[in-house]
Amino acid sequence: MKELKIERIVNKSEADTRKLGLELAEKAEAGDVIALIGDLGTGKTALTRYIAEGLGIKDTISSPTFTIVKEYKSGRLPLYHFDVYRLGDGEELLDIGAEEYLYGDGICVIEWADIVADVLPEDAIAINIEYGENEGERIVNITR
């Protein structure tokens, strides 16, 4: 991903989350891996939905918790949306054939990425989302 700012931002509302998602989508390049880390309800799926919107994907982005990964190919780049909540560790992610996605032709967005951190590429972009002080507020840390 080009010119990604390493930063800490405070998202006041879902509109800010959308802005971040669209920005990530605009800068995304094939092979990018975005690792989302944050508690239940912090908006990981919401952010993914806005990344998809930014990529021009028209499909409904429903939760992949049950199937682990869902593929969307109607946008500028293929989007591979993972939710590894049900997995135990990185080994299990590789067991389902994830390498082809991680080093593939699209971008991978991985929810609960801390569970599988050991097998993610070194240049993965980590996005930590935490609850802010006020309702609807989120503190977002972007590192790589």
Binding site: L40, T45, I61, S62, F66, T67
Partner: protein, 338 residues
């Protein structure tokens, strides 16, 4: 053919379960083997894990063998092979598809690829021998929440589905939030029996008027916000009340939409499927509301509600009767639409 009956071997490996069944004449269950339900540790000297395609690979041969043995037949008695080719996990699907193609080729048996969702609906043909289309289908599980109008055996239309979390997933997540643990469905169901379903007002999300789609993601946030505000106010949280109130919010929307769909399409039967069809409050409320409109509610037994090979065999049988055949180029389609 055995004893004059047409035998279908159904293979399902789209997600966690490696499952194989033998079904006679599309309706009669002869065997139904689901890998995770067998104590392989004692029977085969290993451990049954889930999810991984590698593990489907380890399972698939003995699950097929056991399904044939349980059905008291051999592969030479099988007239048709049905296999799930999507939607699901690509690695998992491929194992079932490859196994099905290999047997079909080696034994020259016709092959039909089945959509997993069609399979869930077909589970009811096994449970209710007299059931025939048309009817309104309601598939609610950990991965799906769909209202499906089944016009004929091989023709159905998806009227609505989830836009975010599936119903079963919402149960799992809220169960986690209130500390009930996994699997959330049965635990919330149990706790809810001791709780007051009107204690907390969770929003019923109906989306646009006339829509048969669902959205359950917001409920999880509502539950979290409720718990936070109660904790901040220093009040005790009654887990049973939260469970009952949350469950009611999910169940009410599902029931209202399913009945509205049945009425709009003049259907007198609602046929349920999927793991959440076993939820006691959903069963109670849908039966009660449906009766007001003279609508009958059917559902399969719990074993046929979860992922299984029998439903794939039943769906394959009717597709085959309709002239459908798959070639040896059948491929797994992870994102297969309904």
């Amino acid at each position: 053919m055995k004893n004059g009956k047409f035998l279908t071997l159904g293979i399902e490996s789209s997600c966690d379960e490696t499952a194989v069944a033998v079904v006679a004449n599309g309706r009669e269950l002869l065997s139904n083997v689901i890998s995770s339900q067998i104590d392989i540790h004692t029977e085969f000297g290993g451990v049954v894990p889930e999810i991984a395609s590698r593990r489907h690979l380890e399972n698939v041969n003995w699950v097929i063998d056991k399904a044939l043995v349980d059905a008291e037949c051999t592969i030479d008695d099988i007239d048709l092979i049905g296999v799930t080719y999507g939607p699901g996990l690509v690695g998992a699907l491929l194992i079932g598809v490859a196994a099905a193609k290999a047997i079909a080729f080696a034994k020259d048996i016709p092959l039909v690829g089945v959509n997993h969702m069609h399979g869930h609906v077909a589970a009811n043909y096994l449970e209710h021998p007299d059931l025939e289309p048309p009817f309104m289908g309601l598939v609610v599980s950990g991965g799906h929440t769909n209202i499906i109008f089944v016009e004929e055996y091989n023709s159905c239309t998806k009227l609505g589905g989830t836009r975010d979390d599936a119903a079963g997933e919402a149960f799992d997540k809220v169960a986690r939030v209130i500390g009930l643990g996994y699997p959330g469905g049965p635990k919330v169901d149990k706790a809810a029996k001791e709780g007051d379903r009107n204690a907390i007002e969770f929003k019923r999300v109906y989306l646009e008027p006339g829509s048969y789609d669902f959205s359950f993601s917001g409920l999880k946030t509502q539950a979290l916000n409720y718990l936070n505000s109660e904790r901040q106010a220093g009040r005790d949280i009654n887990v049973n009340d939260v469970a009952a109130s949350f469950q009611e919010a999910v169940v009410e929307v599902i029931v209202d939409k399913a009945i509205a769909a049945a009425l709009e399409h003049n259907q007198k039967r609602i046929v349920m499927a999927g793991g959440v069809a076993s939820n006691s409050r959903l069963r109670e409320l849908i039966t009660e509301r449906a009766a007001e409109h003279n609508i009958e509610v059917l559902r399969p037994s719990p074993i046929l509600c979860t992922d299984n090979g029998a439903m794939i065999a039943a769906a394959a049988y009717y597709a085959y009767q309709n002239g459908e055949r798959s070639g040896y180029d059948l491929d797994a389609v992870p994102g297969l639409e309904f």
